[in-house]
């Protein structure tokens, strides 16, 4: 009678481990890994969109993400939301050695400033992050319909230069 509970306990423990954190597919060699990248759907009339995800510094050195680029979108800025208003992050995103930075609605994000074409739900959007070292990290963000995160559009009146 006692063998079964032991087996149950072992399999339950294994299940707990599996449920804990499955790493996303990412190169283990990259200085920076990107987990769960996604981008908000938008049409050109929206003028802008934003991309999110978790950036993890896998190295022993601090990393700064200084820029983001794309073959499709001419201008991508590194932004954060402060007091409900969007502002460019001076100098880029600093990610200390071994730590992570989460880009999320209402916080840090990659701001896509012009939309030559719509970003439709389910699109796979290729973006590239540039690091201060000159290294680059490619990522593919999944486009999701998302009604939240609109605080960044308020108050700025589309005029990034005047927003704080």
């Amino acid at each position: 009678m006692h063998a079964r509970p032991l087996v149950l306990a072992a399999s339950a423990a294994a299940a707990l481990l599996l449920a804990g954190c499955a790493p996303d597919a990412a190169s283990e060699d990259a200085p920076l890994t990107v987990t769960d990248p996604w981008v908000k759907t938008a049409v050109p009339e929206d003028m802008m969109s934003a991309a999110f995800g978790t950036l993890t510094n896998t190295t022993d050195e601090d990393i700064t993400v200084v820029a983001a680029t794309s073959d499709v979108f001419p201008t991508i800025e590194l932004h954060e939301v402060v007091d409900g208003a969007m502002a460019p992050v001076e100098g880029g995103f600093d990610i200390p050695a071994g730590e992570s930075l989460t880009l999320e609605p209402g916080g840090y994000h990659l701001m896509i400033m012009e939309l030559p074409e719509a970003i439709e739900a389910g699109d796979q959007v290729d973006l590239t992050l540039e690091l201060s070292t000159g290294a680059t990290v490619d990522l593919t963000a999944t486009a999701k319909d998302f009604d939240g995160g609109n605080e960044e559009y308020h108050g700025s009146d589309m005029d990034m230069g005047s927003s704080e």
Partner: protein
Amino acid sequence: MTGLSRRRLLLGGAAAGAGAAATLGAARAGLIPVALPDPGPDAAGVNGERTVPFHGPHQAGVTSAPGAHAVYLAFDLLRGTDRERLAAWLRLLSDDAARLTQGRGALADLEPELAVRPAGLTATFGLGREAVRRAGAEAPAWLGPLPAFPQIDALEQRWSGGDAVVLLHGDDPTSIAHLARMIVRDSRSFATLRWRQAGFRRAYGSDPSGTTMRNLFGQVDGSTTPRPGDAAFDSAVWAGSEAPAWLRGGTSLVLRRIAMDLEGWDEVGVDGREASVGRRLSDGAPLSGGAEKDPIDLEARDASGFTVINPAAHAARAHVADPARGIVRMGFTYDDPVESGATDSRGRPAVSHVGLLFGSWQRDVDAQFVPMQRRLAQADLLNTWTTPVGSGVWAIPPGCEEGGFVGETLFG
């Protein structure tokens, strides 16, 4: 909580459960509730973190035991959802399911806290004829509405059809609701929600695992259906070389929403109830003798020379000797609010709106489901109190590996 303390809790809980099970054995045989010593609070939440792998050769909702709760969602594709957009939609849905069934928040999930108790959550995706057409793939001949069964059908569009279907089942209704929410949210650009139907079985922990469900007629329902892992299950369910290549390793789903006339059933005594199905109400054993899982003997005769099992009993009419020609059924009870103006079979204001979400898996709907349904439509004593009010048929593609998505075989 440390691994050690959780392990201790799990062991403690399981050992206590084993003792309780022994105590219960005798009581269960007669279905007599007994007072048990209070086992104390379940400090482990032992079932909440249970996960069923999403990835694999078959879809997880087919190969796993039915959960305590189920939600079916049916969708109609928007006009603009072409082959490419259909693939994008299915990829999004698989991504949501792959994360939430494993206890992780979906992408762009504002309530990831809801994901951490999957409790065996599974998601299973099915495609109707129109979706297969949009993908430009070959549809199996059986993919489409069932033939009409005019003797019994009272089908309503609001419970029927759909270009695609999603079945969510698991033991926790909150985690099911959250995955359903993510799926409908991620479907808006591709499809409209056609209907949603929810059902349940006994709560997790009420019955020992594997106990055959009871429907709201009180009947033990599904005694002979093959279980995942049985050879009979495999032979009945998995599509092989006879199916289009994209469907191999998949199956089909027939969903019948069957209204149950509880007020009419009230008028029937125990003998009549047991005769209508051919099984004992107390334990589901065939009236021809033996225990629940024993084969039913349709030839057994009583002292007067009549068959013990009425030839028109449900179990007699549904009986299939070769499991490969049969179906695998998975029922969930529904108990919905009484609808405005509804009346019962005697014309009184209705006081119940209950029935069964009768789901079945089979390789080939025309070869397995339809002949059985035809027999039941021609004669089945249970038809007196049951009415199919919804119906749908979908192809269930095989499972996918990590990085893939269910339905990818359509686009190969």
